[in-house]
């Protein structure tokens, strides 16, 4: 991840907002100066070594630093981990994701881990035990007080749960189970000795080791070089897998499959039942291990949610639900969104099976979901089953996504309208199970009450085929009953459609149209453009210049001869999506940065109110103490704060789509 100026400022402001000024200053200096030692930092920031040591400790505890200790001089060199710093903004999203897919207890544990940084399991358990005990004591006290009119004992558990809804994790057994779940889902990582080395350092170390052991004289010839690369990749993978040691141990436990099932088939919400079932099957975790959050896997899950959202917008909620379940199964063994070219040279097969069968999806679907909804019905004769059931075994070649993007972009702005009556959409795009249906075809929706019902597997198949046939290629039908997703082209499509939306917002429909023309034609001469676009020359010139300033298109000058006479040269317009996206990314950082700065200004403005609400005699009885004027100001501030953070998170959606997914 390249750290631009705005990203650097954003990261240090985020740290400032969450952890205070001291760590933020150090982080900013580290980002600005790169790898530095403690005396160097002293020099840069003109802070005392004592302050620096404290600040560095905080940063390190929150996993925001890389460091390396020199083996001779014992001096540590620190480096900023900008990726983790940026991920702080995603805390809300990650917690929300955990809350919906794993339930409240898991969210609580995750939150504690986010708060305390890398934590020893033993410490975490002790902290929870402490909390539980105290809550129990309090509950008992209350119970003694109120027992006269309360039900007699025996219902202590429920009573206690009612009284203190904030106690989410009720026993250490449950805590253990929750940690096991999260570790199995790879959302939690084990911290090991190399966790805090920069990827580059690790690469260098592994390379050196491989060179020393296998190629003492240096690699000779092409074959040896390939072998060297493979050996290095292997070594790097070994380092990476160290953080999964706990997961491996859990996987070796025989009951793994059964518990997985429980986890994914919606056993997450009814925590009470699970607690008893799982408590005895989970091994007690080694309390010496240190765990932290694995953002890479969190991003995979967030990407799934994003895709489901996209599918909801384009196709419909039921199909999207099926898609969500399918993605959950598929990405169980996918631990990162983007493969590292250095490590994952030949890892395609080592990630396990890259497809999911229809039966597996069927097993994971909730039975309460009516699959017959959201599917169109057409006469059997109108369906070309051969075309619909076409099996694509290989992932698509590196072809241009221009055509796809064109169709897709068209849909992206309008498709939200289609969501309700997907009737039109179906007939527009000649969908699978209707095959070559003409526009006049009557498409009836399956009326579950009247019409003869298909069985569940067939319905599921219909949904999957619908996904496979969509212009976005949500799913690839890679075997008779096997389904997979080609994430790279799919995300590229999404990125392009996102870019199209931005272009339309900034330079209107004409601008978008011109960009699409350029995409499909490649580079186009300035003089030819008006003919192709059927627009007036002056209009086009103005629009194109406007878009050039915004960074969506660019111009290239090609001289006709050696003299490079301007009047004779060609001027070619073209559109480079990647460049436009990169520019959009930096603009997004800037916008987020400004949001936080605005928030700071608002805080300064309402400083007196905020100070008042923080006072210990005001907390808890604000209503009695504060005046109406203050209340108004306070609530306005809170509303603004909420809006600003929501805006930041929306922009983060864009950032993660462009950069991380």
């Amino acid at each position: 991840m390249s750290v631009t100026k705005y990203l650097a400022e954003l990261c240090s402001l985020l740290i400032d907002d969450l952890y205070g000024e001291l760590p933020s200053r150090i982080f900013a200096a580290l980002l600005l100066r790169g790898r530095s030692s403690l005396p160097e930092l002293c020099h840069y920031t003109s802070m005392s070594p004592r302050q620096l040591r404290h600040g560095l400790a905080v940063l390190h505890q929150h996993n925001l630093l890389f460091y390396q200790v020199d083996s001779y001089s014992e001096v540590a060199m620190y480096e900023a981990n900008a990726e983790h710093a940026y991920n702080l903004i995603r805390a809300g999203k990650i917690l929300e994701m955990i809350d919906t897919s794993f339930g409240a207890p898991a969210k609580d544990v995750m939150q504690s881990l986010l708060l305390s940084g890398q934590t020893r399991i033993g410490d975490l358990v002790a902290a929870y035990q402490d909390k539980i005990e105290r809550a129990n004591k309090a509950a008992k006290a209350v119970k003694d007080e109120t027992s006269e009119w309360d039900e007699p004992s025996g219902t202590t558990e429920t009573h206690h749960a009612e009284k203190r809804p904030d106690l989410v994790v009720k026993s250490t057994n449950q805590l253990n189970a929750v940690i096991c779940r999260l570790v199995e889902a790879e959302l939690l990582d084990v911290v090991h000795s190399k966790s805090f080395q920069t990827p580059f350092d690790i690469y260098k170390a592994v390379e050196k080791e491989v060179m020393d052991t296998h190629f003492p004289g240096g690699p000779r010839g092409g074959k040896a070089k390939v072998e060297l690369q493979q050996k290095i990749a292997e070594g790097l993978r070994k380092v990476r897998d160290e953080s999964k040691s706990l997961k491996r141990k859990l996987d070796q436990n025989g009951t793994q499959a059964k518990r997985r099932k429980l986890l994914f088939s919606g056993g997450s919400s009814n925590g009470v039942k699970d607690e008893h079932e799982e408590a005895d099957s989970d091994p007690v975790l080694d309390s010496k291990q240190v765990i932290r959050i694995n953002y890479e896997k969190c991003l995979v899950d967030l990407r799934n949610r994003r895709l489901v959202q996209f599918a909801t917008d384009t196709i419909g909620p039921i199909t999207a639900y099926v898609y969500g379940v399918f993605l959950g199964l598929l990405t169980k063994r996918v631990s990162r969104c983007r493969l590292d070219p250095k490590i994952d040279i030949s890892e395609d097969d080592s990630q396990g099976r890259g497809y999911v069968t229809t039966d597996e999806i069927l097993d994971s679907l909730k039975t309460s979901v009516d699959l017959s909804l959201g599917l169109g019905k057409a006469q059997r004769t109108e369906i070309s089953s051969k075309a619909a059931e076409k099996i694509l075994e290989d992932p698509p070649k590196k072809r241009k996504f221009i055509e796809e993007a064109e169709v897709d972009g068209n849909a992206s702005s309008d498709e939200s309208d289609d969501e309700g009556g997907s009737d039109t959409e179906h007939s527009d795009s000649d969908h699978d199970h209707k095959g070559p249906a003409t526009n006049g075809t009557k498409v009836k929706f399956a009326d579950s009450a009247k019409e003869q019902r298909l069985d569940r597997p067939a319905l599921l198949r219909q949904h999957l085929l619908l996904l496979a046939e969509s212009t976005q290629r949500f799913v690839r039908h890679c075997g008779h009953n096997d389904w997979t997703v080609d994430f790279v082209p799919l995300m590229q499509t999404m990125r392009e459609s996102e870019l199209d939306v931005v272009i339309e917002r900034t330079s209107g429909r004409e601008g978008l149209r011109l960009v699409r023309i350029l995409r499909s034609k490649g580079k186009l001469d300035e003089k030819a453009l008006p003919n192709v676009a059927l627009m007036r020359k002056a209009e086009i010139q103005q629009k194109m210049l406007e878009m050039q300033t915004a960074g969506f298109v660019d111009i290239q000058e090609v001289p006709r001869d050696n003299k490079a006479d301007v009047k004779k040269s060609f001027f070619l317009w073209f559109c480079d999506s990647d460049k436009a996206l990169r520019r959009m990314l930096d603009n997004s950082y800037k916008t987020m940065l400004r949001c936080i700065q605005v928030l700071e200004v608002l805080r300064q403005k309402d400083k007196d109110v905020l100070m008042l609400t923080k006072r210990s005699d005001v907390r808890g009885k604000e209503k009695d103490v504060m005046e109406k004027v203050y209340y108004d100001r306070y609530s306005r501030f809170l509303a603004n704060e909420k809006k600003l953070f929501a805006q930041i998170m929306r922009i983060d959606d864009l950032v993660s789509l462009i950069r991380d997914y």
Binding site: L22, A76, F645
Partner: protein
């Protein structure tokens, strides 16, 4: 041809093409032209949840021992936002002089007792760390042995990680317009805490001086020496001035409060 020439050529050529269409508009431009301000759509339910989780997380961070509240960044005072170099950035921080003191808040007042004391350094010794993953030069700092007060006082006994006590984010509406149910809950909670600590929480539960007898009884039990000790710790810069467990449930501060209240009464 030079770069400048190229640009000129282009401009001229472009002008030639456009000239026919341009009509000179003699009107002065509008002072405040209508501008279509794009408005962000209102928050969806999911957005709301995400934001509130984030804000709660933020609140808890600020409640934790690793947060440093102290802001030494001075704004304004003739300084520009733009900086050229590290020295200028550094000079923004840590400027406490007579000029930067806020005259309205500098005089000690009674209500300042309730303001949470600011921490300038994180309270590292209050919680355990996985020390093997820290560079060796930070180990002493993690133990709280870093600094002038290191020899004076050592924390004894095992350290424990404290979970945050803030479990819900409170909005302005909740604070100010509590429904009947909510105030009932709050009352129960206060009762809870009172029961739990057996400590004086008179002011938290909204009781007034009428119920002073509760405090008297407690303080009689405690004795004065205890309170004195607490004060010592309180003054210590990197000391145990912050303890999450006592933040809400009336620890030293509350004792202080009670004590001073008492003392004042004695003087009169």
């Amino acid at each position: 041809m030079s770069r400048g020439g190229r640009g000129g050529g282009r401009g001229g050529r472009g002008g030639g093409g456009v000239a026919a269409d341009i009509v000179f508009d003699g009107k002065p431009s509008e002072l405040f032209p209508k501008y279509d301000v794009p408005l962000a759509p209102s928050l969806s339910k999911k957005d709301e949840r995400q934001v509130s989780f984030f804000l709660l997380f933020r609140e808890q961070c600020h409640d934790g021992p690793l947060y440093t509240q102290a802001r030494t960044w001075t704004q304004g005072l003739g300084k520009t936002q733009r900086t050229y170099g590290q020295d200028q950035i550094n000079s923004r921080y840590g400027q406490t002089s007579k000029a930067t003191v806020d005259p309205f808040l500098a005089v000690p007042t009674y209500s300042q007792k309730f303001i949470q004391p600011e921490r300038t350094l994180p309270d590292l010794e209050s919680r355990p760390f996985a020390k093997e993953f820290f560079p060796p030069e930070l180990h002493a700092t993690l133990d709280g042995d870093d600094g002038p007060s290191a020899n004076k006082r050592r924390r004894t006994g095992p350290k424990s990680l404290a979970l945050s006590h803030i479990t819900a984010l409170r909005t302005a509406e909740e604070l100010f317009l509590p429904e009947a149910q909510q105030s009932y809950d709050k009352a129960l909670q206060v009762l809870d805490t009172v029961e739990k600590n057996g400590d004086d929480l008179g002011f938290l539960s909204g009781e007034d001086d009428d119920d002073d007898w509760v405090k008297h009884r407690d303080e009689d039990d405690d004795g004065d020496g205890n309170v004195e000790e607490d004060n010592d710790e309180y003054d210590d810069e990197s000391g145990d001035d912050y303890n999450a467990e006592q933040y809400f449930s009336g620890g030293d501060d509350d004792d202080d409060y009670g004590d001073d209240d008492d003392g004042g009464a004695g003087e009169f």
